[in-house]
Symmetry: C2
Subunit: 129 residues, 2 copies
Amino acid sequence: MSEEDAVRQVLRNRQLASLGDAYVNFVYSLALTKVNKRPEGVKVSDRVLAQAFKLAGLRDYLGTRVTRKDLANACESLLVEAYLSDLLSIEESITILTQDPGGVAAGLVNLLKVAAEQVRQKAQAMHDC
Amino acid sequence: MSEEDAVRQVLRNRQLASLGDAYVNFVYSLALTKVNKRPEGVKVSDRVLAQAFKLAGLRDYLGTRVTRKDLANACESLLVEAYLSDLLSIEESITILTQDPGGVAAGLVNLLKVAAEQVRQKAQAMHDC
Protein backbone atom coordinates (compact mmCIF):
# COMPACT_ATOMS: atom_id res chain seq x y z
CA MET A 1 0.00 0.00 0.00
CA SER A 2 1.39 3.42 -0.94
CA GLU A 3 1.57 6.29 1.55
CA GLU A 4 -1.26 7.99 -0.33
CA ASP A 5 -3.44 4.89 0.03
CA ALA A 6 -2.64 4.77 3.77
CA VAL A 7 -3.77 8.38 4.20
CA ARG A 8 -6.88 7.70 2.09
CA GLN A 9 -7.75 4.70 4.24
CA VAL A 10 -7.64 6.87 7.37
CA LEU A 11 -9.71 9.62 5.75
CA ARG A 12 -12.46 7.18 4.78
CA ASN A 13 -12.65 5.37 8.13
CA ARG A 14 -16.15 6.17 9.40
CA GLN A 15 -15.65 4.46 12.76
CA LEU A 16 -12.60 6.64 13.43
CA ALA A 17 -14.70 9.69 12.52
CA SER A 18 -17.15 9.00 15.35
CA LEU A 19 -14.38 9.17 17.98
CA GLY A 20 -12.78 11.97 15.97
CA ASP A 21 -15.92 14.07 16.29
CA ALA A 22 -15.56 14.07 20.10
CA TYR A 23 -11.81 14.67 19.80
CA VAL A 24 -12.06 17.63 17.43
CA ASN A 25 -14.79 19.34 19.46
CA PHE A 26 -12.60 19.04 22.55
CA VAL A 27 -9.29 20.29 21.11
CA TYR A 28 -11.02 23.10 19.22
CA SER A 29 -12.88 24.15 22.38
CA LEU A 30 -9.65 24.01 24.39
CA ALA A 31 -7.90 26.17 21.77
CA LEU A 32 -10.73 28.76 21.94
CA THR A 33 -10.47 28.63 25.74
CA LYS A 34 -6.74 29.46 25.58
CA VAL A 35 -7.18 32.22 22.99
CA ASN A 36 -10.17 33.89 24.68
CA LYS A 37 -8.90 33.19 28.21
CA ARG A 38 -12.25 31.83 29.37
CA PRO A 39 -13.74 28.32 29.18
CA GLU A 40 -15.62 27.78 25.96
CA GLY A 41 -17.20 24.67 24.50
CA VAL A 42 -18.21 24.39 20.85
CA LYS A 43 -19.43 21.82 18.39
CA VAL A 44 -17.31 22.36 15.28
CA SER A 45 -19.68 22.40 12.31
CA ASP A 46 -19.33 20.24 9.21
CA ARG A 47 -19.13 23.48 7.22
CA VAL A 48 -16.02 24.68 9.13
CA LEU A 49 -14.39 21.24 8.94
CA ALA A 50 -15.10 20.75 5.22
CA GLN A 51 -13.76 24.22 4.43
CA ALA A 52 -10.56 23.59 6.44
CA PHE A 53 -10.08 20.25 4.70
CA LYS A 54 -10.19 21.90 1.28
CA LEU A 55 -7.94 24.80 2.36
CA ALA A 56 -5.39 22.28 3.66
CA GLY A 57 -5.12 20.93 0.11
CA LEU A 58 -6.44 17.50 1.07
CA ARG A 59 -9.49 17.48 -1.19
CA ASP A 60 -7.78 15.39 -3.89
CA TYR A 61 -7.33 12.45 -1.51
CA LEU A 62 -11.06 11.77 -1.77
CA GLY A 63 -12.86 10.89 -4.98
CA THR A 64 -15.60 12.79 -6.73
CA ARG A 65 -19.18 12.77 -5.41
CA VAL A 66 -18.21 13.34 -1.78
CA THR A 67 -20.56 15.30 0.46
CA ARG A 68 -19.71 18.03 2.96
CA LYS A 69 -20.30 15.40 5.65
CA ASP A 70 -17.67 13.13 4.05
CA LEU A 71 -15.13 15.96 4.12
CA ALA A 72 -15.94 16.72 7.77
CA ASN A 73 -15.63 13.03 8.69
CA ALA A 74 -12.27 12.89 6.92
CA CYS A 75 -10.99 15.77 9.11
CA GLU A 76 -12.18 14.06 12.27
CA SER A 77 -10.64 10.70 11.30
CA LEU A 78 -7.31 12.24 10.34
CA LEU A 79 -6.89 14.30 13.51
CA VAL A 80 -7.83 11.52 15.93
CA GLU A 81 -5.65 9.01 14.05
CA ALA A 82 -2.67 11.36 14.53
CA TYR A 83 -3.53 11.55 18.24
CA LEU A 84 -4.08 7.80 18.75
CA SER A 85 -0.84 6.98 16.91
CA ASP A 86 1.15 9.41 19.10
CA LEU A 87 2.02 11.53 16.07
CA LEU A 88 0.44 14.70 17.52
CA SER A 89 -0.21 15.24 21.23
CA ILE A 90 -3.04 17.41 22.51
CA GLU A 91 -0.47 20.01 23.63
CA GLU A 92 1.14 20.13 20.16
CA SER A 93 -2.28 20.36 18.52
CA ILE A 94 -3.34 23.24 20.78
CA THR A 95 -0.11 25.09 19.96
CA ILE A 96 -0.77 24.76 16.22
CA LEU A 97 -4.44 25.69 16.59
CA THR A 98 -3.69 28.84 18.58
CA GLN A 99 -0.64 30.30 16.86
CA ASP A 100 -2.11 31.41 13.52
CA PRO A 101 -2.91 35.15 13.46
CA GLY A 102 -6.03 34.21 11.47
CA GLY A 103 -7.52 32.54 14.53
CA VAL A 104 -8.40 28.97 15.49
CA ALA A 105 -10.21 28.26 12.18
CA ALA A 106 -7.00 29.14 10.33
CA GLY A 107 -5.02 27.07 12.86
CA LEU A 108 -7.24 24.10 11.99
CA VAL A 109 -6.04 24.26 8.38
CA ASN A 110 -2.40 24.14 9.58
CA LEU A 111 -3.18 21.28 11.97
CA LEU A 112 -4.74 19.22 9.17
CA LYS A 113 -1.66 19.75 6.99
CA VAL A 114 0.67 18.61 9.78
CA ALA A 115 -1.51 15.59 10.65
CA ALA A 116 -1.70 14.46 7.01
CA GLU A 117 2.06 14.79 6.61
CA GLN A 118 2.70 12.84 9.84
CA VAL A 119 0.34 10.02 8.84
CA ARG A 120 1.96 9.93 5.39
CA GLN A 121 5.49 9.80 6.88
CA LYS A 122 4.51 7.04 9.28
CA ALA A 123 3.11 4.98 6.40
CA GLN A 124 6.32 5.59 4.45
CA ALA A 125 8.47 4.53 7.41
CA MET A 126 6.46 1.31 7.76
CA HIS A 127 6.74 0.75 4.02
CA ASP A 128 10.53 1.21 4.13
CA CYS A 129 10.93 -1.34 6.94
CA MET B 1 -13.06 30.22 51.49
CA SER B 2 -13.30 26.67 52.85
CA GLU B 3 -12.36 23.63 50.73
CA GLU B 4 -16.06 22.77 50.46
CA ASP B 5 -16.83 26.24 49.11
CA ALA B 6 -14.00 25.89 46.59
CA VAL B 7 -15.45 22.61 45.30
CA ARG B 8 -18.95 24.13 45.24
CA GLN B 9 -17.70 27.09 43.21
CA VAL B 10 -16.27 24.71 40.59
CA LEU B 11 -19.47 22.63 40.49
CA ARG B 12 -21.61 25.71 39.86
CA ASN B 13 -19.38 27.26 37.18
CA ARG B 14 -21.55 27.19 34.04
CA GLN B 15 -18.81 28.48 31.73
CA LEU B 16 -16.54 25.64 32.82
CA ALA B 17 -19.41 23.22 32.09
CA SER B 18 -19.50 24.23 28.43
CA LEU B 19 -15.85 23.24 27.92
CA GLY B 20 -16.42 20.30 30.29
CA ASP B 21 -19.15 18.96 28.02
CA ALA B 22 -16.65 18.58 25.15
CA TYR B 23 -14.03 17.17 27.54
CA VAL B 24 -16.29 14.53 29.08
CA ASN B 25 -17.62 13.34 25.71
CA PHE B 26 -14.03 12.91 24.53
CA VAL B 27 -12.57 11.05 27.54
CA TYR B 28 -15.67 8.86 27.84
CA SER B 29 -15.50 8.02 24.11
CA LEU B 30 -11.79 7.28 24.39
CA ALA B 31 -12.44 4.97 27.37
CA LEU B 32 -15.13 3.10 25.38
CA THR B 33 -12.68 2.87 22.47
CA LYS B 34 -10.06 1.24 24.71
CA VAL B 35 -12.55 -1.14 26.35
CA ASN B 36 -14.26 -2.20 23.12
CA LYS B 37 -11.04 -2.08 21.06
CA ARG B 38 -12.67 -0.09 18.26
CA PRO B 39 -13.15 3.67 17.79
CA GLU B 40 -16.38 4.86 19.35
CA GLY B 41 -17.77 8.35 19.84
CA VAL B 42 -20.61 9.11 22.21
CA LYS B 43 -22.41 12.08 23.69
CA VAL B 44 -22.70 11.29 27.41
CA SER B 45 -26.30 12.01 28.41
CA ASP B 46 -27.35 14.25 31.28
CA ARG B 47 -29.08 11.21 32.77
CA VAL B 48 -25.82 9.20 32.95
CA LEU B 49 -23.88 12.19 34.31
CA ALA B 50 -26.48 13.09 36.95
CA GLN B 51 -26.70 9.49 38.10
CA ALA B 52 -22.90 9.21 38.40
CA PHE B 53 -22.77 12.48 40.34
CA LYS B 54 -25.22 11.14 42.91
CA LEU B 55 -23.51 7.73 43.14
CA ALA B 56 -20.19 9.51 43.76
CA GLY B 57 -21.74 11.02 46.89
CA LEU B 58 -21.43 14.59 45.61
CA ARG B 59 -25.14 15.48 45.65
CA ASP B 60 -24.89 17.32 48.98
CA TYR B 61 -22.49 19.88 47.54
CA LEU B 62 -25.40 21.41 45.64
CA GLY B 63 -28.48 22.94 47.23
CA THR B 64 -32.07 21.83 46.91
CA ARG B 65 -34.07 22.57 43.76
CA VAL B 66 -31.32 21.51 41.35
CA THR B 67 -32.27 19.98 38.02
CA ARG B 68 -30.78 16.96 36.27
CA LYS B 69 -29.07 19.44 33.95
CA ASP B 70 -27.45 21.16 36.96
CA LEU B 71 -26.08 17.84 38.18
CA ALA B 72 -24.75 17.02 34.69
CA ASN B 73 -23.13 20.46 34.41
CA ALA B 74 -21.51 19.96 37.81
CA CYS B 75 -19.89 16.71 36.57
CA GLU B 76 -18.59 18.42 33.45
CA SER B 77 -17.18 21.39 35.37
CA LEU B 78 -15.50 19.21 37.99
CA LEU B 79 -13.79 16.89 35.51
CA VAL B 80 -12.48 19.61 33.22
CA GLU B 81 -11.30 21.68 36.20
CA ALA B 82 -9.24 18.70 37.38
CA TYR B 83 -7.79 18.43 33.86
CA LEU B 84 -7.07 22.16 33.41
CA SER B 85 -5.43 22.36 36.85
CA ASP B 86 -3.15 19.40 36.04
CA LEU B 87 -4.72 17.36 38.85
CA LEU B 88 -5.83 14.53 36.52
CA SER B 89 -4.29 13.88 33.10
CA ILE B 90 -6.24 12.31 30.26
CA GLU B 91 -4.18 9.13 30.65
CA GLU B 92 -4.98 8.90 34.39
CA SER B 93 -8.64 9.57 33.70
CA ILE B 94 -8.80 6.85 31.03
CA THR B 95 -7.19 4.39 33.44
CA ILE B 96 -9.80 5.13 36.12
CA LEU B 97 -12.66 5.04 33.59
CA THR B 98 -11.63 1.65 32.19
CA GLN B 99 -10.60 -0.34 35.25
CA ASP B 100 -13.94 -0.83 37.01
CA PRO B 101 -15.45 -4.26 36.31
CA GLY B 102 -18.82 -2.50 36.19
CA GLY B 103 -17.82 -0.77 32.94
CA VAL B 104 -17.15 2.82 31.93
CA ALA B 105 -20.32 4.18 33.59
CA ALA B 106 -19.09 2.73 36.91
CA GLY B 107 -15.62 4.09 36.18
CA LEU B 108 -17.17 7.54 35.80
CA VAL B 109 -18.38 7.39 39.41
CA ASN B 110 -14.82 6.59 40.56
CA LEU B 111 -13.38 9.36 38.40
CA LEU B 112 -15.76 11.94 39.91
CA LYS B 113 -14.76 10.87 43.42
CA VAL B 114 -11.05 11.25 42.62
CA ALA B 115 -11.56 14.61 40.87
CA ALA B 116 -13.58 16.02 43.79
CA GLU B 117 -10.94 14.87 46.27
CA GLN B 118 -8.13 16.37 44.18
CA VAL B 119 -9.91 19.73 43.82
CA ARG B 120 -10.63 19.71 47.56
CA GLN B 121 -6.99 18.92 48.43
CA LYS B 122 -5.71 21.65 46.11
CA ALA B 123 -8.02 24.20 47.80
CA GLN B 124 -6.80 22.99 51.20
CA ALA B 125 -3.15 23.33 50.14
CA MET B 126 -3.77 26.88 48.93
CA HIS B 127 -5.64 27.66 52.14
CA ASP B 128 -2.73 26.34 54.23
CA CYS B 129 -0.19 28.52 52.37
